[in-house]
């Protein structure tokens, strides 16, 4: 069980968390959504595609698990470690999932892509060798309007191979 915290409506709350390995201090209204906080902090790769938690464009990894950052309050992220799409590439080298998305033409407009990549990151961590059905199920909370998903599925398969072949993913957590 999480600890229950009570805040006043207009109270400013100071929170500390790690984003992509960097310590961040942030002062916020208690009601502010994590997605808005991350975007204000400059992580604009975290996108907003709906207001009902259907689309998954705002997916990030929080304490090792994928979350839709529009369903998390910034104050709930106090003390957490967050990984966004900006934190995947290391020293100018793309993460294997990013490489696979590029190679397989798994994006068109690119708007769903950061969320999709982060969901794939979580999926492959949980299931390193997923079947096509498991991939489709795994990304079904992330909407894409351009690609028809076929090349995204192919990209996740390719990323799975790349990762299992020992191209160690860059993991901060």
């Amino acid at each position: 069980m999480n600890e229950v915290k009570v805040y006043e409506k207009d109270q400013k709350v100071k929170i500390h968390f790690k984003v992509n390995g960097q310590d961040v201090e942030y002062e916020t209204e208690p009601r502010k959504l994590l997605v808005h906080a991350l975007r204000e902090l400059g992580f604009t790769g975290v996108h907003i595609g709906c207001d009902t938690s259907n689309c998954g464009a705002c997916t990030v990894i929080m304490n090792g698990k994928s979350v839709k950052s529009c369903t998390v309050l910034a104050v709930e992220a106090d003390g957490s470690e967050i990984l966004t799409v900006e934190g995947l590439a290391k020293d100018g080298k793309l993460h294997p999932i990013q490489e696979a998305f590029w190679e397989k033409h798994a994006l068109q407009c690119g708007y769903c892509t950061p969320g999709m990549i982060m969901e794939a990151y979580w999926l492959l961590k949980e299931k390193p060798d997923p079947t096509e059905e498991e991939i489709r199920e795994g990304i079904s909370g992330n909407l894409c309007r351009c690609t028809g998903y076929q090349n995204i599925v192919e990209a996740v398969k390719l990323a799975s191979q790349k990762l299992r072949l020992g191209q160690t993913p860059y993991q901060r957590q």
Binding site: E29, R31, K32, H36, R39, F43, T44, G45, V46, H47, I48, G49, C50, D51, T52, N54, C55, A57, T84, V85, E86, L88, A89, L94, Q98, F101, W102, E103, H105, L107, Q108, C109, G110, Y111, C112, T113, P114, I117, I135, R136, E137, I139, S140, G141, N142, L143, C144, R145, C146, T147, G148, Y149, Q150, N151, I152, V153
Partner: protein
């Protein structure tokens, strides 16, 4: 020699997008930006009495509230961009709150009170046609009326061996680009810079200047990265004007970004056509007559009428019928105005004519491929009964190729049926028109370091056009594609342009870039003649070099560029104008007419869930510059077309309340409903352009619905006439 054209080249657009470094409109910030929230009509039809925003103004951080803004914009509601006297649909802007941040703006918007007297609303287009309840006070509901007629279809149908009537319904859909619309308007003393999630910055500049010419000298429109559009970000929206007006009023940068709920309410809906058809044919399958009463559900404004015109003109499709009539009725309803969505009129035409072919085959108990072959146009070019000139193609070869796939899927279906499974195979053949003009522009500039910058007037937003155009320019100039950058989306970088819509960008902007590259090559020869002290007539451009075959001397494009730039502060002692730039504008004197076929094997389970087991598409779009990109367009388009066939419908209740106002209610396909597609292409029907491409942006949303619905129909053994057909309809 093609080093790049025809190859599956990886996209130049991708690196920033896969790393989160894309810059969409909401990612752009300016110091002192104000945020705008729109207060929208909660009802479908009412007299607007008063907008009370006194409580909103009391909220700390609120800068102001705008009400009653009316501008004259053609074909838009009289109360545009804000309702002033009459509320016409749920979601129509009524007021705008401007505040220091987004949260404050939305808090204040909730404090604005709208006082209104309800009026009866009309939402069903057939009801609207009766004109009993007026959608707009003081106006008849029939906003548009036109007849397309050829020959004598009444006589043809009365003399036919077989005839039937059917009502075909194509529901309203919502384009649902993943990025909601948004605008930032930055005021700088008489000038504006507007950043917009648009498909056409140049067109947007024109329409904003039309409205604000007395308030600004010029407007520069910049299109940042755009998260999809599918036709929905081309035409003027109320929020564009409201945001620009607010920035002029407060002399500050003002930002408005739609929430998804707002986007579903105000982004123009699409399709929304009913076709009541009467069809006659001979016993041998020859189609002899069609009469179609077409009702288009325009919503609360009349700017969508052209979609009925396209549907009517393309209704004959690839078949040689001459006795045909389409009566078009455009009606107002109390719903969001209607406009284009991927395919824009051709999906509607193709759905109707392909439904007619399949139903006719059933009526005659005839093989539906044989029926299509019997009616297929025998040679091109061909002028259809409404005067549309189909350019060229080999329709029969493509049909034969698709037929083989169809027969194979039928054998598979037969086997599955013998196992007791409810499966069916659907087939469609489509012919469409695209490359809507009139022209497009491109500028090719070789920099002093040899790097090539290409600026296009088209405004791609996900299609990968920049990669395709880089392939064209790199091949033409004989340079490495990594040295070619393609940019777009800024009215200050190229004089005029149109944008990206109607499957036009690769053909029109691509040919403009090709012609501009040729100008650069000519210029490179003239400059090299100076540097090499040769007669330009002796020189030729080959593989990225200007060569003198007599002397064997040569200079690469990079060397010519570098020599042009060599000494700062020196003099220019050559008898040729410096600079290696070329700009070209390119237009075609006809639209282009690609065609294709889709074949689907589907299974319907006991709950009515539709699963596609196999899917095949083939297109002839002339020269294919990058098969990977073209295939991507088809894959995405098929799944959108599938969504339109089994999932997607904008639903209003009788009072005009929107029942599908979120992604929780308006379902677009997820990866689970989606399926894999096998795609092939032919390159027989080339366009007249120097680079003989056509377009593939929309083909798949045109070809898919009739093939999937036909397959469902055969699986359940019941005639299907509506898009979408939902599980409980089966």
């Amino acid at each position: 020699m093609s080093r790049y054209i025809g190859k599956r080249i990886k996209r130049k657009e991708d690196p920033k997008l896969i790393t989160g470094q894309g810059r969409y409109v909401d990612d752009i910030e300016f110091p002192g930006t104000l945020y705008l929230a729109i207060v929208r009509s909660p009802v479908a039809h009412a007299t607007l009495k008063k907008v009370d925003f006194s409580d909103a103004l009391k909220l700390s951080g609120v800068v102001g509230v705008i009400t009653g803004l009316n501008l004259r914009v053609e074909n838009r509601p009289s109360n545009f961009p804000m309702a002033k006297t009459e509320l016409l649909y749920v979601g129509q802007p009524v007021a705008a709150v401007v505040a220091k941040d987004k949260y404050t703006a939305y808090d204040a918007a909730e404090l604005v009170q709208i006082d209104y007297d309800s009026l009866p609303a009309v939402t069903d287009p057939e009801e609207a046609l009766k004109d009993d309840v007026k959608a707009v006070e003081g106006k008849g509901n029939v906003a548009y009326r036109k007849t397309y007629s050829s020959g004598n279809p009444e006589k043809a149908i009365s003399e036919a061996d077989v005839s039937f009537e059917e009502k075909l319904v194509i529901s309203r859909v919502y384009p649902a680009a993943m990025e909601p619309r948004g605008v930032i308007s930055v005021y700088q003393q008489g000038f504006l810079t507007v950043y917009s999630s648009t498909q056409s910055p140049h067109y947007m500049r024109r329409y904003l200047l039309n409205a604000f010419a007395d308030k600004v000298k010029d407007i520069r429109v910049i299109q940042p990265d755009v998260g999809g559009a599918f036709g929905s970000k081309l035409f003027p929206y109320p929020e564009d004007y409201i945001t620009v007006y607010a920035s002029l009023l407060y002399e500050r940068p003002v930002k408005w970004i739609a929430t998804r709920s707002e986007d579903i309410r105000q982004t123009y809906h699409a399709r929304g056509q009913i076709h009541k058809v009467k069809v006659g044919a001979k016993r041998d399958g020859t189609l002899t007559g069609i009469i179609d009463d077409l009702i288009i559900d325009l919503g609360a404004a009349s700017h969508g009428t052209y979609l009925a015109d396209i549907a009517a003109q393309m209704l004959p499709g690839p078949y040689s019928i001459r006795d045909i009539k389409v009566e078009v009725y455009g009606v107002y309803t109390n719903k969001t105005p209607l406009d284009q969505y991927r395919g824009a009129g051709r999906p509607e035409a193709t759905f109707v004519i392909e439904r007619i072919m399949s139903i006719l085959a059933d009526e005659l108990k005839m093989d539906e491929i044989e029926l299509r072959k019997k009616n297929l146009i025998k040679s091109t070019p061909y002028v259809n009964p409404f005067g549309v000139k189909y350019d060229n193609g080999d329709y029969a070869s493509l049909l034969n190729k698709a037929e083989q796939v169809y027969r194979e899927m039928e054998r598979k279906a037969e086997k599955l049926r013998s196992e007791g499974r409810k499966v069916g195979v659907g087939f469609s053949f489509y012919l469409e028109m695209n490359n809507f003009g009139p022209w497009e522009s491109a500028s090719v500039r070789v920099r002093g370091d040899g790097r090539v910058l290409v600026i296009i007037g088209a405004a791609p937003h996900g299609q990968g056009t920049a990669t395709g155009i880089a392939q064209i320019v790199a091949d033409e100039l004989g340079v490495d594609i990594d040295n070619v950058d393609v940019i777009w989306g800024d009215t200050s970088t190229i004089g005029e342009g149109y944008g990206t819509y109607g499957s036009r960008s690769l053909t029109l902007a691509g040919n403009a870039a090709l012609l501009a590259s040729r100008k650069v090559k000519e210029k490179a020869i003239r400059l090299a003649a100076q540097f090499l002290k040769s007669d330009p007539q002796e020189l030729e451009y080959k593989d990225g070099k200007v060569v003198n075959p007599k002397t064997g001397k040569s200079m690469t494009l990079k060397e010519i560029a570098a020599k042009s730039m060599s000494v700062l502060g020196g003099v220019w002692r050559y008898k040729e104008e410096p600079g290696l730039e070329g700009t070209a504008y390119f237009g075609l004197d006809n639209l282009t007419y690609p065609y294709g076929s889709h074949v689907a094997l589907v299974e319907v389970d006991d709950t009515g869930f539709v699963k596609v087991l196999d899917y095949y598409a083939i297109d002839d779009i002339g020269l294919v510059v990058n098969p990977m990109l073209a295939e991507g367009q088809v894959m995405g388009g098929v799944i959108q077309g599938f969504g339109e066939t089994v999932l997607e419908e904008v639903i209003h209740d009788k009072e005009g309340n929107l029942l599908t106002g979120t992604f929780g209610d308006y379902m677009i396909p997820t990866a689970v409903e989606a399926f894999n597609i096998k795609w092939e292409y032919m390159e027989k029907g080339k366009s007249d352009a120097p680079l003989p491409a056509k377009g593939i942006g929309e083909g798949a949303t045109i070809g898919t619905p009739p093939s999937v619905l036909r397959a469902m129909e055969k699986a359940v053994g019941k005639r299907l006439t509506k898009l979408p057909t939902l599980p409980w309809d089966l």
